[in-house]
Each structure stands twice: as C-alpha cells, then as structure tokens.
C-alpha cells in the first residue's frame, strides 16, 4: 500500500458546478505534473512491482463440517460515544448524591473518568465519602463551586477502582464445614494516603468559605413545602 499523506489531497480542479470541473483532462494532466514525473523516469510512468509475497501456510481441511450452513453474525463496528458531561457540572462543583450508601450527601466533583463516571470525594474527613465513582444520572449539580486548583487528580482512572481479583483456594472436606474464616478486607494503605493527599488542599479551600464545611457535612433532604421542580440548586 502507498504511504499515507500527512495532509489530505487538495484538488487542483475547482468545481464550476457539481459534476463539472474547471479544467479539461489534458489541462489537468499538465497541472498535476505527470509529464515531469514521466520525464524524470525516462518516458514511462514509474511503477513498482509487487513485493514477492511469502508462501501462505497450507490450509488444513477443517475437522468438522456442520450439518447445515451456519450463518455468521453481521459485523458491528459501532463505537459508543463518550458520555456527555452536563454543562452544570465543572471541576469543583458541589454535587448531591441521590442514591446508594451516601444518598443525600453533598460531595465535591473532581473530574470525569474515561468510562463516563464522575470521580468524587467527600472530602472524607468532612462527610465520610471517600474517593468514589458516581454516575451522572444519580446526581444533582448545585451551583456552589469549590476551588479545586490545588488538587492533583491525574493518577486516578477506572483501573484504580477495579475490584481486586482474589485467588480461590481448593477446599478439602474438613475445611468446608469450618466457618468461613475470611477476615474483613482492609483498605490498602496507599489508597488511604491518596485520599489524604487529595483532601488536604481541598479542605483548606473549603475552610476559606464560611459555613461550607458544615454544609458539606450535612445531608440534603426534601422538607415540607419544598417543590423540587421549583427549587433552584
């Protein structure tokens, strides 16, 4: 195959209208400089003979032919688009979690991961929410923003949050009847350090705003008379 061009080919033959070019075939021959290429090559257009191909390995006849023809599924080249982030969610926005263990908690948004999920932190010292992934649909974005400039979030991605793969031991009969001696999975120390590092500068900027710390520590709930469709968040 010929080498790919760095810039796409810009046609030297502008359209007068669709289907009709400005220059004729002979004029285009001259414009493209095919006469110069031929002259350089001694009167004939340069051609490259195909490289000798290595002999393909002899194909063995298959071991098994199905009784009836098996249909191949159609080729699917669909690539899902990256999740669109709502315009109201920017780094440093305070979000309200709507579902899960931490529902109602107000939390600081850090960044959107490649999977589309939002990386979020309590901060842990303030409301007990650790570095966590959260889906955009289960979140209300408030208009309160926290200064997030001192936080380094580059090292966090979806792989960081993947579950640990544990090896399963083969149990002998005696061990089956013993009570499951699994001890609680402890959080590895480096994850705790990561949490502390992210939260250190965050907490400083949060304490700069009066009442913001208490705000993040409190949970959100709908009270009597609050109409969600009329509330401004």
């Amino acid at each position: 195959m010929a080498a790919k061009r760095k810039t796409p080919v810009k046609t030297r033959n502008p359209d007068l209208i669709r289907g009709v070019g400005k220059y004729s075939r002979s004029k285009m021959y001259h414009k493209r400089g095919l006469w110069a290429i031929k002259a350089k090559n001694g009167g004939a257009f340069p051609r490259h003979d195909p490289k000798p191909k290595a002999p393909a390995a002899a194909e063995k006849p298959p071991k098994f032919y199905p009784a009836e023809d098996v249909k191949k599924p159609l080729l699917n080249k669909r690539k899902p688009k990256p999740t669109k982030l709502r315009a109201s969610i920017t780094p440093g926005t305070v979000l309200i979690l709507l579902a899960g263990r931490f529902m109602g908690k107000r939390v600081v948004f850090l960044k959107q991961l490649t999977s589309g999920l939002l990386l979020v932190t309590g901060p842990f010292k303030i409301n007990g929410v650790p570095l966590r992934r959260v889906n955009q649909s289960y979140v209300i974005a408030t208009s309160t923003k926290v200064d997030i400039s001192g936080v380094i979030v580059d090292k966090f991605d979806d792989k960081y949050f993947a579950k640990e793969v544990e090896k399963r031991k083969k149990k002998t009969e005696g061990e089956f009847f013993e009570a499951e001696k699994e001890d609680k999975k402890k959080l590895p120390e480096d994850k705790k350090e990561d949490q502390k590092a992210v939260d250190a500068s965050l907490i400083k900027s949060i304490e700069g705003v009066p009442d913001l710390k208490a705000y993040l520590a409190a949970r959100f709930s709908l009270k009597s008379g609050m109409k969600p469709h009329e509330l401004v968040f």
């Binding site: 309160t144 009442d211 705000y215 009329e230 401004v232």
Partner: protein, 134 residues
C-alpha cells in the same frame, strides 16, 4: 366600603398574567369597557385587558397618551420605582423573588441563621421569665 383605587389615566398597575407578568405599567388611555392602553418605560405601548392588571395605590400626573419621554419624566418625578419598592406590597414581591432564587447553599445558611436567632430569642425569654418569677 367605597373604592379607593380607580382606573384613571396615570394609574400605576401591576401586570398579573401574560408575557409582562410582574411588571409595573401605567394606564395611559382606556380603550373600552374591558381594555386599557398601557405603557411602561421598557415596553412597547399596547392594550391590555383590565383582568390582567392589579391596580396599585400610585398615580402619576400625565396627559392622555403621553409621549414616551413625557411618561418617563413623569415617572421619575413621582419616584414610582422607589415608592413601589418601599411599599409593603412591593417589598413582599421582592422577598418572594429572592426566596425563589435561593441556592441550596443559601438555604442551608438561612437555616443556620434561623436556628441562631431562635436561640438568642429563647435565651432572652428565659432571662425575662426568671426576672419575672423572682
């Protein structure tokens, strides 16, 4: 009970319904039994049904169908805007608008302030009660 607020030329009214909801307008002419010609400094003069208007206590001194410039001068002279914003009706509307536009964080701060105020009031009350009892 006689009427106090009359439909007359120069009467300031509040629009109750429609595209100009919440605006203060001046009745500039009466079209017929149901409609008035109405004008405000920031809108094109047009007709409005009386049912869309709520009359206020304020009246300005203008001739029938004044030029826009005259209208604006008369409104400045009568100081309609400030008088409106200091009236209890006007103040109520301003507070309603403020409450509707409160942020979640603002609502939280207001809750803290209310609790604080209630605490102070309760302390004073307890003090007064003690003085009274002794």
């Amino acid at each position: 009970m006689p009427f106090k607020r009359y439909v007359e030329i120069g009467r300031v009214a509040l629009v109750n319904y429609g595209k100009d909801y919440g605006k203060l307008v001046v009745i500039v002419d009466v079209v017929d039994q149901n409609r008035a010609l109405v004008d405000a400094p920031d809108m094109v003069r047009g007709q409005m049904n009386f049912k869309r208007l709520q009359l206020t206590d304020f009246k300005i001194d203008i001739p029938r169908v004044p030029k826009k410039k005259t209208l604006i001068e008369a409104m400045e002279k009568a100081d309609v805007k400030n008088k409106w914003e200091n009236s209890s009706w006007g103040k109520k509307l301003i507070v309603q608008k403020k409450r509707a536009s409160l942020n979640d964080f603002d609502r939280f701060k207001i809750m803290l302030a209310k609790i604080k105020k209630a605490g102070v009031v309760r302390q004073e009350l307890a003090k007064l009660k003690k003085e009274n009892a002794s």
